[in-house]
Subunit: 460 residues, 2 copies
C-alpha cells in the first residue's frame, strides 16, 4: 500500500486481529498430542534457537490440549498450560496461533478451527479431511478476521508443496498437477513390487509395522489421497475445493500379477492423484485418484516406500517435482512449524496478502466436474476369465466393437486358481468412453469371473 | 508488530522505500533482453491476467534496456520505454522493481543492482555469479533501504529451491544440502551414459545443440555449480556466502570407461554440489562441487538431461527433493516472475521480514572452510597405467601403505590406446586424507600415464 494509505488500511483491519509486538514471542496453543503433536513439541524444543533467529522472534508453546491428560508422552508437559476443553484455547489471551492436530473433518477439530479464526488467531493445521470438507468456510472466516490459515502439512507431509504450488509456481498457468499423495498405498505397492507378494499379505505386514492403520480403508480406498488432491486442485486452478467430485479408486484390487505384467511392459503401478482444468467447449475441473501405470523413465516411477511426490506442470516452468516423506512425526512437524514461521515472519506486517488460496474465497470459481469420457489415454485392462475356448475371442470382439485397438495382450493361467486364466492387455490411445463401452459389452458375460480392472498409463 | 508500535516502525522505514498503492500495478524495469528477458516479457504477456489475480495487482513492464536496441526479438518493444543506459532505470519514477537479467558478476549488472537497491527499488535477478560474489553487499543495501532482493532464478532455474530451503525447510537444522546444479554437465554426463560416447564428442554435440556455450569452461569446470552452491549454503546455514571456499572439480576428465565402470557397480556419475556444516571440534563450512558416483536407488540417479535437482536433508523433514528444468527461457522466467509476485503480494505490507538470507546480513556467520581430510567416504579411483608387470602391485601397495582397503577392482586394456591399461577401484570407507596419501605415494611413478581420477560415492 502507499504510505499515505496506511490509515485506510488500518481501518480495514478487524479489531480482533492479533499481532504480538515486534520481536515478541509468537505464542502457540497446540491441540492434539499424538504422533504429530509430540513431533511439533520436540521440534520447537530442539530447533528453538535456530527458529527464533530465522523467524525474527521466538516461537513458544503456551497451552496444550489432548483427550488424555495423563498419558505418558515422554515429554515434560508441566511447562504448558493444560486445557481440558480445547476450544478454550482460542479464547486465551496468551495465544496468537492455534495449531490443530486433532484430526477428523468435523467434531472438535472443526469447532476449534472456527473459533480460532473467528477470534482473529492464526490457524495452522495438518488436517486434510477438514480442509477438504470445510476449507472454503475456514478461509472465509480467516479473511473476515484477518487471521491467516495455513495447512502445508495437510498435503504430502513434510514436503513444502502447498508453498511450491501457491508461491513457487505462481507465475504459471498449471497444465496439470498430479502425484503420489498417500504413503501407505505407495508403501504397499512398492513392497508388492519388490517382493512379488499379494495385496492382502503386504497390507497385513504394513499394519503390523505401523505403516497402515488398523482400519486402513481411508488410505487404501483412495479417500486420503482424494482429500489432498482436492486441496491441490483448488490452489492450482483458483477453484473452490470440491472433494466430492474426485473420482476415486483405491488399490485393493491390484494383484501381484498386475504388478508383474506392468513391469514386463516397462512400468510400475502407483496410486496417482491428478487434477486438470478443461478449457475448450465448457470449462470443468478433472480430479481423479486411480492406480496408474507409470513408465520407468518417469520421475514418479522411482518414488518408493512411504514417500510422497507431486508434479506441477506449469506452462512456463515445465515439470516441477516436489518429493519427500509423506507422513511421520518429524516431517509433518517440519511442515507445521514452517507454517508457524511464515506467520511469525509475516505477522509483523499484517495478513491482507496472505490469503490461503491466493485470492479471496468469493473469487474462487465453482467449476463443474469435467466429463472424462472424451479423455484419451492408453489403458491397461485385466480380466480373470474361465479357462475355456472362445473367451479371448469374446473379449477382443468387444474391444473391436467399441473401437478400441489393442497394443499388446498377455494371457496366462493362474497357478493358485485352477480353471482361471488372467488376460491383461494394453490398448492403443483411445477415448475412455470407448473402453467403458467395451466393458459394458462384456458385462454379465459368464466368461468373466471377476470385475475387470482398468488402469490408465501415464505417458513420460 | 503490535498495532501500537505502528508509528515506531514507520519511523524505521527509509523514506526511499517505494510502495505502490494497494491494488495499483507493480511496475517493472527489465534489464537484459536475451533468452530469459524475452521469456519474462512473454510470460507476463501470456499469464498477465492470472498473475494479477494471484498477486492482487497487475504486474506491468514500464521500461526495458539491452545492449542492442534494434535487434529483432520477435516481441513488440514499442510498448516499453527504452533506456540506452540501463542504470537510469533505477532512477525512473515509474519503476518499483528492477529485474536484472544482464549477467556477469560485475560490470553493468552490479552497478544497476546497487543503484536499484540504494534507491529503495526491489531487485530481482537470475545472476548467480553476481549473488555469489556480491550477495552480502547487495543484501545489506536492501536492508538499509528496505528494498527486497530476490534471486530464485539464480539457483536451479525454474525450480523454487531458494523458497523451499528458506521457507519450506525453515523449521529444520539442515544436515546436508546437495544436488545437481548445472544442466550442461548433467546433459553431457547422461548423454555419455546413454550413448557410450566420450566427453569431447558429447560436448561438441551439446554446443551444436545450444545446450553448452561456445566457451563451456564456466559450466564444465564446475564454476557455475559452485556459484549456486555458495548461495544455497549461505541460506541453509545462516553463513556469509563464501564462493572462493568451494572446492571445485569439473567433469572434463571423465571417460566413457568411468561411466561404464560406475554402471557395473550400480551407479551413475553426476556432478554433485554439496554443502555441510561441521560441528564438533571447530565449526566450519564444507562446500564442494565434484563428480560423484550416485547409486541407482538414489533419487539423483534418475535426474537426466539438463534437469536440476536439489536435496535438502533436514533434521526433522528428512530428505526433501526439488527437481525441474535448470535453465531455459520459460523455466527461468517462471522463477523470476515468482519473485516479482512475492514482492507484489508483500509490498502492500513492508519489507522488514523479507530478508533474503532470513536474518540481517550482520548476523550471518563467517565460517572458515571445513577441512576435508577427515571426511570418510568410499572412493572410486581410476588410473591409466602402462601395460607391464608389477603396476597393479605398485598401486595396491600404495593403498595398503596409506591404510586404504579396496572393496573392488577392475583392470582392462584400452581398445584405442595400445600399451595402456585402465585400472578402476572402489575403496572401502576411508578418510579422504588416506586416499590422498596413497596417491601421493604413487606421485611421479613412471607406471602412471595420467593423473588418477578420484570421485566419491554418495550413499543411498
Amino acid at each position: 500500500m502507499a504510505e499515505g494509505a496506511q490509515t485506510g488500511t488500518q481501518a480495514q483491519t478487524p479489531a480482533r486481529m492479533r499481532r504480538p509486538a515486534a520481536g515478541a514471542p509468537l505464542r502457540i496453543a497446540l491441540a492434539g498430542l499424538g504422533t504429530v503433536g509430540g513431533g511439533v513439541l520436540r521440534l520447537i524444543e530442539a530447533n528453538g534457537a535456530l527458529i527464533a533467529r530465522r523467524a525474527g522472534r521466538p516461537i513458544i508453546v503456551t497451552a496444550v490440549s489432548a483427550r488424555d491428560r495423563d498419558k505418558d508422552r515422554g515429554l515434560d508437559m508441566t511447562r504448558y498450560a493444560w486445557e481440558d476443553d480445547m476450544t478454550r484455547m482460542a479464547a486465551r489471551a496468551d495465544v496468537d496461533v492455534v495449531v490443530e492436530l486433532v484430526g477428523g473433518a468435523d467434531g472438535p477439530a472443526l469447532t476449534l478451527a472456527r473459533q480460532a479464526l473467528r477470534s482473529g488467531r492464526a490457524l495452522v493445521t495438518a488436517n486434510k479431511a477438514m480442509i477438504a470438507h470445510h476449507g472454503m468456510e475456514l478461509a472465509a472466516l480467516g479473511e473476515q478476521s484477518g487471521a491467516p490459515l495455513r495447512f502445508e502439512a495437510a498435503v504430502a507431509g513434510g514436503v513444502p508443496v502447498i508453498k511450491g504450488l501457491r508461491e513457487g509456481a505462481a507465475a504459471n498457468a498449471v497444465d496439470r498437477v498430479y502425484g503420489i499423495l498417500n504413503g501407505t498405498c505407495n508403501y504397499i505397492l512398492s513392497t508388492m513390487e519388490d517382493s512379488g507378494r499379494d495385496f492382502a499379505d503386504v497390507l497385513a505386514e504394513a499394519q503390523a509395522l505401523g505403516y497402515a492403520e488398523a482400519d486402513p480403508a481411508f488410505d487404501i480406498e483412495g479417500t486420503d489421497a482424494a482429500h489432498k488432491l482436492a486441496i491441490l486442485a483448488a490452489l492450482a486452478y483458483g477453484t473452490q475445493i470440491d472433494f466430492t467430485a474426485v473420482e476415486t479408486t483405491g488399490i485393493t484390487r491390484i494383484l501381484a500379477a498386475d504388478i508383474a505384467e506392468a513391469e514386463a511392459l516397462g512400468h510400475v503401478i502407483r496410486l496417482i492423484a491428478m487434477a486438470e482444468l478443461e478449457g475448450e467447449g465448457g470449462r470443468g475441473l478433472f480430479q481423479r485418484v486411480q492406480p496408474c501405470l507409470v513408465p520407468f523413465d518417469h520421475p514418479l516411477a522411482h518414488v518408493d516406500g512411504p514417500t510422497n511426490a507431486v508434479v506441477v506442470e506449469g506452462n512456463f516452468s515445465g515439470r516441477l517435482l516436489f518429493q519427500g516423506a509423506g507422513a511421520g512425526d518429524g516431517p509433518t512437524a517440519s511442515a507445521v512449524v514452517a507454517d508457524i514461521i511464515d506467520i511469525a515472519r509475516g505477522i509483523a506486517q499484517g495478513f491482507e496478502a496472505d490469503m490461503p488460496f491466493s485470492v479471496p474465497v468469493a473469487n474462487l470459481e465453482a467449476l463443474p466436474p469435467a466429463a472424462s469420457g472424451h479423455r484419451r489415454a492408453r489403458a491397461y485392462l485385466r480380466f480373470i476369465v474361465a479357462d475355456r475356448p472362445g473367451v479371448l475371442a469374446e473379449i477382443t470382439a468387444a474391444m473391436r466393437d467399441a473401437g478400441v485397438s489393442i497394443e499388446s495382450l498377455m494371457q496366462k493361467g493362474r497357478a493358485d486358481s485352477e480353471g482361471e486364466v488372467l488376460v491383461a492387455m494394453v490398448t492403443h490411445e483411445a477415448p475412455e468412453a470407448a473402453v467403458t463401452e467395451a466393458l459394458r459389452l462384456l458385462d454379465g458375460s459368464p466368461s468373466l469371473l471377476a470385475k475387470p480392472l482398468v488402469m490408465h498409463l501415464i505417458e513420460k
